[in-house]
């Protein structure tokens, strides 16, 4: 019955409830809150990437009008340490104080806090603070930092994490293989660039309590971190997440600014707010990505992959934070979609003097997918095989699932070849290959390239809480431990509950993102909301039916087997009651459930078709086809919206976006004119298609959605550009594929094609 309802009502897309307020400008973001007496914060930041903090001169700033306080670390009654999250051990011996105490380890590290009546006054005072730092050498590359004698934390190595996955591969495998290829890839640093930057407002409640409004992905985690760092009881801290203007992994963490602000709120007994500005957001923390990768792949003469080796040096910035987890996520997924008997990964998380990193949409999976998918294309080129054919020869087959990879992860369900074939049909792969051949033959039109990325990812970690209550008025309240940052939970979660209960979704109201109302929760990241939070609500709704049946059985003194449930009503022997009436008659009718399913493995294939002007280096993306398998899709409009948005973010990484530092370690991407995210003019024709392999580990059957576009797009574009330029050494291509990068690659990476194009250039100038 439940499955039938899901089939009838799932995969259906009502208008989003969130929209009514957001299109009227009636949303409520942290910056929109009006809390009486609230002071506005500005942070004084070190202007040196690495150095000894000699002094912070605040006297002049303190005398400025409307300024309440200007505090450096020495003025605070306590200087809490930024918690590293997820129990990351790398932070041991490497403390990150809320305000710098003796050293700064990235440009922009908070050194002092200004609180004033408004932001104008706060920024005036901020600019009047002088910070004296004696510079130390900077480290901007994780591989070089790993071997450097310059230690960010004297006595502790710069390599904060060094971990192996899978067994080391015997030299004989490489020696005896018919073909071995090697890749060297750079995943540039990226800025999350949610349109709303970080934002937090803290109001003290009595001597030992706080109410915290924060633009965040994980309110319960933030509550725990604040309690631990400040020595307060969790019960005395309430975290509320109002509307959030995008997050993409950069708002699931606890940051030093939040802790400094909390100390100030308690000390002053006044509400305080920090609204991060765009320059702060772009210079980070957080940054995303930032990996140096070396790959090696061996295959037999038929193209069967025998072994794959991946080495990662991940830049985690000046302090180990959640970014230290990202290379481990890459490692677990290193094997990709292939039945490769030997896979070995060595992952190092390395301190540098860039801003600390965090997960950014994809969080290690784009890095893993790009490494193996570029390497597979390199192998295809070496073997003279079509890259689609090489993939088809090596995919893990559906009958081999569940499949345990040599790096210790289990793939659940799917048909990887089917996704590739669907993508090929959708894009007209043969047609584009013919067009490519025609252009190469003609030699006049710009070269065309077709790039494939067949990815597997993992979604949804840890448990999640869900609760459903039938209210006496006939409505239902669903509580979730997740936390929407724009994904439309208010619309999609009630759909799940409605499908199970067989009632209209309008009767169900979602409550989440408030620790005072939701007893526990993990939050929204890792594409986990529907997969895990949805599964919890699905289970809670099912349990509510059973609870109601039991309640009526007791009331009628009949065996529970006689109680039937249909569309919000329980009945037996001609007697029937709605759940609301039952709650009114017998007391609260509510079920709380926690589910803890294993991680799921969404997958898919992306194909990009590009045209490259070798003279100008410009890349024109003609088509992107994205085939994704998210398991059961509850709201296809929301899921397709997530896919389209993440494809465009993936396009940003491929072609435009890069956080840049100068030689002194100072960020040079300070505005949205330096850090280029795609506009509408950059968006290529995009076609979405899906296969559906339900998650075998939950009754709901949903897998994660939301990050796939960032995972599949970059490697598809990279492989397409390498294909267009016919590069003998595709390793010369690194993202972002700016015109200069492609022009340079066309000159240096392409023996055959450069030779072939040389006479054309002469003809063209005639």
């Amino acid at each position: 019955m439940v499955e039938g309802e899901m089939a009838r009502r799932g995969g259906w897309a009502p208008a989003r409830r969130e929209d009514a307020r957001l299109v009227r400008g009636a949303g409520c973001f942290v910056g929109d809150l009006r809390v009486p007496g609230c002071l506005e914060a500005a942070f004084v930041r070190g202007a040196v990437a690495h150095g000894e903090l000699r002094g912070v001169h605040v006297a002049q700033a303190r005398r400025m009008p409307r300024v309440a306080v200007v505090w450096s670390a020495s003025d605070l009654p306590q200087v809490p340490l930024t918690p590293p999250m997820l129990g990351i051990k790398a932070a041991k011996g490497r403390p990150w104080p809320a305000l710098a105490t003796d050293r700064v380890r990235y440009a922009g590290q908070p050194v002092a806090l200004v609180l004033a009546a408004d932001r104008y006054a706060a920024e005036d005072a901020r600019d009047a603070v002088r910070v004296d730092v004696a510079p130390l050498p900077v480290l901007l590359d994780p591989t070089r930092a790993a071997d450097s004698e310059v230690l960010l934390f004297p006595g502790e190595p710069n390599v904060a994490v060094d971990k192996d996955f899978g067994d080391p591969i015997d030299d004989a495998v490489w020696r005896d293989a018919a073909v071995v290829v090697e890749g060297r890839y750079r995943q540039q640093l990226l800025a999350h660039t949610s349109m709303e930057a970080r934002a937090i407002l803290i109001r003290p409640e009595g001597a030992d309590g706080l109410t915290v409004w924060c633009s965040h992905q994980a309110p319960h985690r933030l509550r725990g971190d604040l309690a631990n760092a400040l020595g307060l009881s969790r019960q005395r801290i309430r975290v509320v997440v109002p509307d959030v203007g995008g997050a993409f992994g950069g708002k699931s963490e606890t940051y030093p600014e939040y802790l400094a602000l909390a100390v100030a709120a308690r000390e002053l007994g006044r509400p305080v707010r920090w609204l991060e500005d765009r320059a702060e957001a772009l210079t980070g923390p957080p940054h995303g990505r930032g990996q140096n990768q070396r790959t090696r792949m061996a295959a037999d003469a038929d193209g069967r992959i025998l072994a794959y080796q991946l080495e990662i040096d991940a830049d985690i910035g000046g302090y180990p934070h959640l970014g230290a987890f990202v290379p481990l996520n890459s490692s677990v997924l290193a094997a990709g979609a292939y039945r490769t008997p030997r896979v070995h990964v060595r992952a190092r998380a390395v301190l540098t003097t860039t801003a600390p990193t965090s997960p950014y949409r994809g969080a290690g999976r784009p890095e893993a997918a790009t490494a193996i998918e570029r390497t597979v294309d390199l192998l295809a080129r070496r073997l003279g095989l079509d890259p689609a054919e090489l993939r088809l020869r090596n995919f893990i087959r559906p009958d081999e699932l569940p499949y345990q990879t040599p790096t210790g992860f289990t793939y659940d369900s799917g048909d990887y070849a089917a996704a590739l074939r669907l993508a090929m049909r959708t894009v007209d792969y043969e047609g584009w290959r013919a067009e490519q051949a025609r252009r190469r033959e003609g030699g006049v039109e710009p070269p065309l390239g077709i790039g494939i990325c067949s990815y597997v990812e993992r979604s949804g970690n840890a448990s999640e809480f869900g609760s459903v209550e039938a209210c006496p008025d006939g409505r239902f309240i669903a509580l979730s431990g997740c936390c929407s940052t724009g994904q439309g939970h208010e619309t999609s979660f009630p759909q799940v509950v409605a499908a199970v209960l067989g009632v209209e979704p309008e009767l169900i109201r979602l409550v989440e993102a408030d620790t005072a109302l939701v007893p526990r929760g993990i939050g929204s990241y890792s594409s986990r909301s529907m997969q895990t939070g949805g599964a919890a609500l699905h289970q809670a709704a099912g349990a509510l039916i059973e609870l109601a049946r039991g309640r009526l059985a007791e009331r009628l003194s009949v065996p529970i087997e006689r109680i039937r449930y249909h569309a919000g009503t329980v009945s037996a022997d001609g007697e029937s009651m709605s759940l609301g009436a039952l709650a009114a008659a017998t007391g609260p009718l509510r079920t709380d459930e926690v589910v803890d399913p294993p991680q799921a493995v969404p997958f898919g294939t992306y194909i990009a078709v590009v045209e490259v002007d070798p003279e100008l280096g410009s890349v024109r993306v003609l088509r992107i086809v994205a085939v994704d398998d998210y398991g059961v899709v509850v709201n296809p409009v929301i899921v397709h919206g997530q896919t389209a948005g993440s494809v465009v973010q993936g396009l940003g990484q491929s072609l435009y976006e890069q956080v840049r530092y100068d030689d002194d370690g100072l960020p040079s991407t300070l505005t949205l004119l330096d850090y280029l995210i795609p506009t509408m003019s950059e968006v290529p024709p995009l076609t979405l298609a899906e296969t559906c392999s339900p998650n075998p580990n939950t009754a709901l059957g949903a897998k994660g959605a939301g990050e796939a576009g960032c995972i599949g797009t970059p490697a598809a574009i990279l492989n397409a550009v390498a294909d267009a330029l016919d590069l003998d050494d595709p390793n010369v291509l690194q993202t972002p594929l700016t015109p200069y990068a492609c022009w340079e690659a066309a000159r240096t990476g392409s023996g055959r094609s450069a030779a072939r194009r040389a006479p054309l250039r002469v003809e063209a100038t005639r």
Binding site: R16, R24, F29, G246, T679
Partner: protein, 163 residues
């Protein structure tokens, strides 16, 4: 400085510092927080409002520059009786917003353009140029384009019905 302006049809008299941006005056002094600030340096367009019918970045304009002028914000987009503007309905219908932070800016950008020249929505190149003015990090833009085309059709239909 004393500044008199009309916001969404309502006369306002503000006493602002010369350096106060229009965005801050709207948000803080008029309590109209629907206008969002995302970059504060004139690139993203989230703070777009109409001044005398023309789309401006309210983070790049001082409040005092609006003395004697008409300002329209997202709060003034719907009809006085609350009936949503066709753009507001179309943005929801086409799923042209996710987090919704950039949405007021896109709405005002499109509202200004369609009021001035409804044919912009029928010309793909001009429409693309127009919507390239603003940034969105969630949607990938295509749904925003569709929403503006849809709303233009609604507005066109309403015009013909009136005439």
């Amino acid at each position: 400085m004393r500044t008199r302006l009309t916001v969404n049809g309502q006369a306002r008299e503000l006493d602002v510092e010369p350096r106060r941006t229009l965005a801050d005056a709207l948000r803080e002094d008029c309590g109209l927080t629907g206008t969002h600030l995302a970059c504060e340096h004139g690139v993203c367009g989230a703070c777009t409002v109409l001044v005398d019918g023309e789309a401006v970045r309210s983070c790049l304009m001082f409040a005092v520059q609006c003395d004697g002028r008409q300002v329209r914000t997202v709060e003034g987009l719907a009809a006085a009786d609350g009936t949503p503007h066709p753009l507001q309905e179309a943005f929801s219908a086409e799923h042209a917003l996710q987090c919704g932070f950039c949405t007021p800016g896109f709405l005002m950008l499109a509202a200004g353009a369609l009021a001035r020249d409804p044919s912009v929505a029928a010309d793909p190149d001009r429409l693309r140029e127009l919507l390239t003015s603003n940034l969105c990090r969630c949607t990938g833009y295509e749904s925003i384009r569709r929403a503006v085309v849809r709303a233009a059709g609604e507005l066109d239909g309403a015009r013909h019905a009136d005439s």
